[in-house]
Symmetry: D2
Subunit: 402 residues, 4 copies
Amino acid sequence: MDFAYDERTEELRTRITRFLDEHVYPAEAVLAEQIDGSDDPWATPPVVEDLKTEARSRDLWNLFLPGEHGAGLTNLQYAPLAELTGRSPRLAPEAMNCSAPDTGNMEVLSMFGTEQQQRQWLKPLLDGEIRSAFCMTEPEVASSDATNIETRIERDGDHYVLNGRKWWSSGAMNANCAILIVMGKTDPDAERHRQQSQILVPMDTPGVHVKRGMQVFGYTDGDHGGHAEIEFRDVRVPASNLISGEGEGFAIAQARLGPGRIHHCMRAIGMAERALELMCRRVSDRVAFGTPLAEQGVLQQWIAEARVRIETTRLLVLKTAWLMDTAGNKGAHTEIQAIKVAVPEMVTWVIDRAIQAHGAAGLSQDTPLANLYAHARTLHIVDGPDEVHRRSLARRELKKYR
Amino acid sequence: MDFAYDERTEELRTRITRFLDEHVYPAEAVLAEQIDGSDDPWATPPVVEDLKTEARSRDLWNLFLPGEHGAGLTNLQYAPLAELTGRSPRLAPEAMNCSAPDTGNMEVLSMFGTEQQQRQWLKPLLDGEIRSAFCMTEPEVASSDATNIETRIERDGDHYVLNGRKWWSSGAMNANCAILIVMGKTDPDAERHRQQSQILVPMDTPGVHVKRGMQVFGYTDGDHGGHAEIEFRDVRVPASNLISGEGEGFAIAQARLGPGRIHHCMRAIGMAERALELMCRRVSDRVAFGTPLAEQGVLQQWIAEARVRIETTRLLVLKTAWLMDTAGNKGAHTEIQAIKVAVPEMVTWVIDRAIQAHGAAGLSQDTPLANLYAHARTLHIVDGPDEVHRRSLARRELKKYR
Amino acid sequence: MDFAYDERTEELRTRITRFLDEHVYPAEAVLAEQIDGSDDPWATPPVVEDLKTEARSRDLWNLFLPGEHGAGLTNLQYAPLAELTGRSPRLAPEAMNCSAPDTGNMEVLSMFGTEQQQRQWLKPLLDGEIRSAFCMTEPEVASSDATNIETRIERDGDHYVLNGRKWWSSGAMNANCAILIVMGKTDPDAERHRQQSQILVPMDTPGVHVKRGMQVFGYTDGDHGGHAEIEFRDVRVPASNLISGEGEGFAIAQARLGPGRIHHCMRAIGMAERALELMCRRVSDRVAFGTPLAEQGVLQQWIAEARVRIETTRLLVLKTAWLMDTAGNKGAHTEIQAIKVAVPEMVTWVIDRAIQAHGAAGLSQDTPLANLYAHARTLHIVDGPDEVHRRSLARRELKKYR
Amino acid sequence: MDFAYDERTEELRTRITRFLDEHVYPAEAVLAEQIDGSDDPWATPPVVEDLKTEARSRDLWNLFLPGEHGAGLTNLQYAPLAELTGRSPRLAPEAMNCSAPDTGNMEVLSMFGTEQQQRQWLKPLLDGEIRSAFCMTEPEVASSDATNIETRIERDGDHYVLNGRKWWSSGAMNANCAILIVMGKTDPDAERHRQQSQILVPMDTPGVHVKRGMQVFGYTDGDHGGHAEIEFRDVRVPASNLISGEGEGFAIAQARLGPGRIHHCMRAIGMAERALELMCRRVSDRVAFGTPLAEQGVLQQWIAEARVRIETTRLLVLKTAWLMDTAGNKGAHTEIQAIKVAVPEMVTWVIDRAIQAHGAAGLSQDTPLANLYAHARTLHIVDGPDEVHRRSLARRELKKYR
């Protein structure tokens, strides 16, 4: 149970912090302007490409990816870096080619892709030339249960044919989105967790109909690819597009889940740190009824409570990362569920208090807080609502006494 | 302490409910489409004008206004009607010409306006021909303390000249917005609550610069006029535009505060009722892990808790309305502060739970919930943050024992 | 929906307040001393009898009882009086012969007792000469479901014979406790709510074994009769001791439930008011880090929040009392459940904050707060845990949309 | 940041767990009986002495004490052991001679005591032959601020003379309590943190008047020494009884604070683990409305939430212990405050939910839960209320941005 940041981690943290200070934070206002001034909400603002170039020149690129294709960091080494990117979540992750769902897709291709699949899709993704989407959630069913999935992937000679409807397919509204990884059922009659497969579907395949972008509160998340509703009508792709093999879909999803959870949670902790910093700066500047807010008891309680909650949840996430490195995803199962519950609760609370400390400005486009909140609020729902994870945690706990 | 809904109230409730069912709820989807299809986020969607026509033909018009110019209802009579309009807050209040800040502006003109001011501005507002804005909050100061206001209104012969900057001026982005009521200081050296005045400024007066619309969680609130940042640079209006008299600004603000608080709070209760209804319908329809959500303990606790919280806060608001009718705004001072604290806490909680019960759909444009949440969240801040009101309530409580 | 306190209520409130100020509050320290100095924790301290004499001489006696045997007050008239007695819950209710479970027992005897039963038991209870207990809860089963009851009441010629085990039989440790009302099953095969009967069992009947007094936290509640565990072994009583008739047990229990809930809840509100007063006085007196606690923001938030929560829940209880008076227990069913949930949550929170404001003194015997907390905490459990009531409330709510 | 339990820790955990299972848990019922049957609430029940003998024979003795006099464990090594003793806090700590305030007193004597002081007092304390008390808190002042202390320690020739009043002096009601460590002022005019000294006062010194035992929620805590109110009237002790030197009182208090906080917090985590286990067992056994409680959603949420909260706070305490071992008390200052805030909030919540899951039994003497709650509730107050620590944490946080 050693969570210390090693030398390589510390060195990368220093370099990322510098990159944030010198380039990313100043780019936030530019991003807002470019979005305001753009006719197409789904176009990638130029400032993003500038940051990508800068990050790559600083060798802050693909840090998320273990193994030969990436930086080769462990979960425990990457976790504190993900936290830093979370401080500016609309810019930093994408700038460093570490943004979801590309990260998960690249991991899947790196672990399970054929040589051809890797050449065709992993290579340009690693180079930041294209974007990708992951199509799992469906509008009609409770998708936290993978056996509910209704999209069909049917073999037809040398091809597979897809039919179904997905939504919240993150990244799919992006103009650069070239490839989709789609989860569907190849054999609805197989054993529960052998029914599903995952397959590569190029965006321009006939029958792929992007219906609309989903909003979160009033945000389209257009700047980093949005979340699409997509209809697949008789979409035909070569059989060689299947990833790993028929019936492997559930196992592939599980493999991406653990690291993805760590990334999400650590970025969320970075978001909370950012919110706490903004709150501290605000209350130091602002005077009300003759006293600086910083000296008012209620605000002090919020700040202290925020600090305590951030520290405790960060330790739990680091422990989880360490467990995954040492005992595998399975050995860290309980902890992976625990952070799903603990982190969203912490981060929405911290951001909400930071908003309150800012007054109306906190709800507006003048601080990143409202946007951070919208993003944080989704964490209570994505990958299954908190309540489902708590139920599962309770069952495990109860088993100890049977 | 008699809060019963009298015959007239019940009759109006029946008619408004019918109007909501037959026209307003069905118009919600139309509104979304018209906004999506519009180039100008600030244009009033045509469906709003249709609803206004319909409401007026049904004599559901200007119900908020006591006295000869309006329906002549008491606060206790109007409160339950405001609740109903809150069930569809983007459409119903405006459809019935009962939406803020026009309501407050009309009340002010009705109580304090000269005959000429009433003819020129109150008349077309009552007819729903123009919209108005109220310019009070300023970006640089904690505006919950009226003595902080920095905008100047200086006498120059037969005119007043305004200089200053306002934001969150609700309604001012609306294309039909013709008139602003502006709060500023005519005499910074007068006694604390005699420094301020309110003055009428036609929107097209030279020097009125609308800088931008403020966002709330990504929403522009364009459909009902938005919240503008406005700069006043040497804005010159006739001296006869002053409302009531120099130094009366604070007293006028106080007069509009009480009824405004009731309206806000009762609409918020209507929002909570709508959210609870949506939650109940959702959990009755949806099955997860083999059981309808409606039979799952956690969701039942949320539903029961929502019902209890709505009931208790509604009673407090009704008591406040009744007190205002019988003891005046001053006699209801404590209660007016108490509902400012109690209602936002209740309504954000209820809507948040309804969102969670909906999963990702609850955060999207597919239900009104995310939009309701954004609106409800502002109630913790507008008219001064909750914490300021609690402080003031505590002081009153502590005085009892000195 | 008229909750105003009428003239008679106001007059009684004035007189009770005077009685509290002049006799009850000063007696609290005396009570503590007499308990400390007593060898028998179950003996009634003499100060209680003194207060009874005083209360009776002031005609503040049996106010809880409607109808000819009592003061004839409505629920709405008595509720504000119950609140006042809650300000000193260990002394005031008993002093005024208005303490549970005697109140419920007297109501039952008054409504359902035969002339002989009333002469033998109701009369001395009304005169405060004896005490009584109510034996419903059983240790082995979830007693919030009356059909679980296992105690048997079997007919044997002119007698009934009881066998079973009860606990939390309030009042039964009192040396003056002369009579028990016992709930048991006369016919386990009858329809669900016709299996139970209630029967009068004199305390000195052979086979009645009082095993022990239950504690709540470290308190025995000896001063007002405690809560006993009782075993009934072949306890034989005349058939004429049955109340109302075989199979009427559930209906009788329902009849006492509504008024009992009002009494409990209003006393709890009185407890919260007392705690708030103590908190206000404490923070006005105490200085820490150079500032009176009363001027510190956190404490102000607690005080304001306490005031708001007390006001809202009181309104709900008053509405419930009014509904019971006008629509009967059945018409007020939802509200009776709602106050079961709302009041305990409010009162434990208020008392807990008052304790915190007092520091260690708040936990000790030097203030009534710890004792109040212990009592308030039981309200989340007695008459069925909050969660059961919320479940039932949710089902009612969900039915609206089916 | 390595919190792993090393081999020695694991070996001790195994042995302590066995001791708990074989001796301590079975002794809990015996303790209750012996207390019930005893005339003197302050006498040490015989079962405690039996357990001490057993623990000593198993070499589970004085594990808390670093250095030559004790087991020589680091904070990180001892912390998980303290957690285990917290599972039965009325018996295990004392059985293993690891109970407060003796632990702190022994640490102080071990670090600062003269050879004679160690021979006279440390030796019999280490042998478990006598008990001790620590007299710091005073009834009249906010004692979380050490400069408020009013007790005087005045030099008079070869003696010091004490005058003052203390309360919540833990352990002082114990019949075996032989020695008091008293904090007082030797020089009120010195610099803020040089005014205080600590001095040894034998219990039988003339002028030491134990006035009464303080209660916590009705409990006297008689079984482990209670909390006394003590008056010191012209108490004269030899000058050689002074610990370390005049003006060192504050520094000595600081030195005991860090380890004491770790002990308190880890025991509290053990209490939470015990409560969670009891809750799990209860809900597995109990059926309500046809379903085992263990399958009801609300209870599952509590169990999962309890598990998550315990894990996160434990990590924070372990980190703090590790920091103290590697960076000293000062280097761990922020964390020592953070656990003061985080742990009490967690543990009172967990125990409260466990109580609710047990119904009325949870509040009674039939489970340890109510007693655990009473103890846990004090943790929000002892060593200064949570709010004071949060204020201090906030100030540190705010300094980062100045």
